[in-house]
Symmetry: C2
Subunit: 455 residues, 2 copies
């Protein structure tokens, strides 16, 4: 008898799950139906700032696999269909056809919830004005791009100086806007420690971006046509015809919560390491779930395509009788702000203290290449280390070309619970175009070994 | 009472040992004397091809610390002094002053042998002709550069297509030479598997380098003035006014062997993980020693500045009463041939078989950035995996900008004896300018998981 796998959400997580399940089961064994509220599937949400900035010319370039391509591969994708309720006892979802306005029930044997995340929209007066954008999905990305293309008023405000905020700020500068970034915290990039965030702030100012740090948005002023005219902070109004919200996202666990599934404090659906929710036969993956942080050992919500894809794969295997696990995250992230590369993994100084580690932080400045090799650029590496054991807890890197991807060595070290002594000794690659004889990560590890009196 | 540490060899290993010891002991506790046969200390031998190619304008740029700078830091460096014998029972070395032609005895309490490596010079007829260069040290690097600057005949042959051979070939192309590389093996870069070496061969040909693969050098023809005129293989004579030997190096264990210390089959001095030789109070470090390969678990000789520096640090600590270990190597290496980046770590397919592993190799082609992001370039990743356990045994990467340093993640995985399943799951950094959502290394790991039927 043919079973049915129903997928809620056509994003990377949902469609990775569907595709992996399809590879493992023939259509006569398993029917796969995927409902997507929007018109697009399997697109790279992380690429939206580059589309807005015209580094990527068309939205289609961001689509890894269209609904038609999925259908050709035996996945029954239904776009413009929103799942409004799940009955986990009857194993049925309620589906609203957004174009027809009709609703129907869809039974399932196994269910995958991939409802993603929503941009944070704090209840600021005026936040729903025309010209204020939160970037949720490809459709809103296309809307921002259209607004940017059409704008007469080339003044923009980005609210929030996290990854997305800064990437959008750079995109707007690239498109000829005069850009102000407003951030309530005193340094940009809240996932970095302030000392590293300072370097990012400098690079943004060099790019001509005005930074209003330590200023919360009090209201958004609206003109007579209902369109945004200014963002107002304690420092006064900042005139703008376009506002982008870069305040981060929150997992969209509402459908799951409505179905009685466990949802955590982050708003993310609670899953085990097999991506199973609290209801039998129901899996969840992607930006809508909470995951295990391997260093803090706490549940966290991390909206990132790389996790979504990996979790989707795990679900596709487990929902078809296999056995795969998603072993958690480290909070690894990387971003490029013009020619400045910024990366982090594990715990920052403050996070380490919050979790209860007695930690020491060590920062060094080194070079991306041998000092004598053309193009050698400065790189700053910060490591957070447990004092008593020398165990690495986190790392942050800021620098020019060739700096950021080194965070992966720190991530691999964290993954394996290495001490700084071990990191210092590792056999990393060396040649003058790529590194000084001591790789910058190892220069930092060596400084930590010395600081902690471990030699 | 003041003790005396004597260092034989002023290269990176010897001077790292001296500098580390100096940091730990005051001059009134420990006298440090370093003898160097040449005129230079602490120079980056790996940088010589870039000096020859004029990417680095002067030889001085390659010197990290001159004899004068070491002396200012309390290390009694004596250049142009060659240690010709060691008496480990009496704890005395015999020193020849190369300029004065006089010899004297120098007692020591602790001794560090850092005699480096010698370029291989097979007994080919004509190999000692003028214009035939092996690159041993900065002095020979300066000699090659002078010959290149002065050469009327702009035809050069590089014998051997290993890292140094290819870097020298590129340098000579950059200097306007017509370059032929002769290699006895059928593919360049013997440290890569042939399928990956093929890609390097293609890039070299694109650069205008003529490649004679599978051809051993039979003799070197010499003109009436004793200068090289051609390199002769079974394919006939290749006219050249300049020949560079890139046949690799062999540890220079001759001084140690003469003193009765244990020397291995590689020619390298046998040391334990504290860099102690078989004689009490005698340490060795750098290109002159054999080290432990963490995957093959065999002793190997690897001439590389990064190991020399790390080992020097270990010696400096242990020779001053501390306790530090050098935990071995993975055989990690990286090189740039024009805009092609080449990297490897661990065991290749053939090496894995030689060591007795039942291994499977998996290769994939991916992209250095998200496919839609400008500048995305092809990257080829090969992983060698133990069939029964899924344990990673080695990796090779060939690609354009941003490709090679990813080998460090493979190295970190090898260091921690990770399986491909674990590598696939790691939280590596992702953003469109740096990586597809699945990092190429993880694409390869995933392919291996699938190939081995582990999902």
């Amino acid at each position: 008898m043919t079973e049915r796998l129903v997928v809620v959400g056509g994003d990377a997580a949902g469609m990775s799950a569907a595709a992996q399940a399809r590879r493992r089961r023939e259509p006569d064994e398993l029917e796969i139906v995927a409902f997507e509220r929007g018109a697009h599937t399997s697109y790279a949400a992380c690429g939206i700032p580059y589309f807005v900035g015209d580094l990527v010319p068309t939205a289609e370039r961001l689509v890894a696999r269209s609904p038609e391509e999925h259908r050709r591969r035996g996945i029954d994708v239904r776009t413009r269909h929103e799942v409004t309720a799940v009955d986990v006892d009857r194993r049925v979802v309620t589906v609203l056809d957004l174009d027809a306005g009709t609703e129907h029930d869809q039974p399932y044997d196994r269910l995958v919830i991939a409802t993603g995340a929503r941009p944070r929209r704090p209840p600021i007066p005026g936040i729903d004005a025309a010209g204020v954008f939160g970037v949720r999905d490809l459709a809103t990305g296309i809307a921002v791009r259209a607004a940017v293309d059409a704008a007469d008023d080339r003044r923009a405000v980005v609210v929030g100086a996290g990854y997305i905020g800064l990437e959008m700020a750079e995109a707007l500068v690239r498109r000829g806007f005069e850009v102000t970034v407003v951030e309530a915290a005193v340094s940009p990039m809240g996932t970095l420690d302030p000392d590293m965030g300072e370097i990012v702030a400098g690079a943004m100012r060099d790019l001509g971006i005005r930074l209003h740090l330590g200023e919360a948005v009090e209201r958004i002023d609206v003109d007579g046509h209902g369109a945004v005219s200014a963002v107002v902070t304690a420092g006064g109004p900042i005139p703008a015809g376009l506002v982008v919200l870069g305040l981060g996202v929150r997992p969209d666990g509402s459908l799951a919560a409505g179905a009685g599934l466990d949802v955590g404090d982050s708003g993310g659906i609670v899953v085990d390491d097999h991506q199973r929710t609290s209801a039998e036969g129901v899996y969840a993956a992607g930006d809508c779930v909470e995951v295990f942080h391997r260093i803090s050992r706490r549940p966290v919500a991390v909206a990132l395509g790389t996790h979504a894809n990996k979790q989707g794969r795990v679900v596709g295997i487990n929902a078809t009788g296999g056995d795969a696990a998603f072993p958690g995250v480290l909070g690894t992230a990387v971003s490029q702000i013009c020619d400045l590369e910024v990366a982090r993994t594990g715990l920052g100084e403050r996070e380490a203290a919050e979790v209860g580690f007695d930690a020491e932080a060590v920062s060094i400045t080194s070079s991306t290449r041998a000092g004598y090799y053309p193009g050698a650029a400065e790189i700053r590496v910060k490591l957070v280390v447990e004092r008593s054991t020398g165990r690495l807890l986190g790392g942050q890197i800021v620098g020019r070309e060739g700096a950021a991807k080194r965070i992966d060595v720190v991530a691999a070290a964290l993954w394996n619970e290495m001490t700084v002594d071990e990191v210092m000794s590792m056999d990393l690659s060396y040649a003058p175009p790529f590194s000084p004889v001591w790789d910058p990560v190892q220069v930092a590890a060596r400084a930590a070994v010395s600081r902690l009196g471990r030699e």
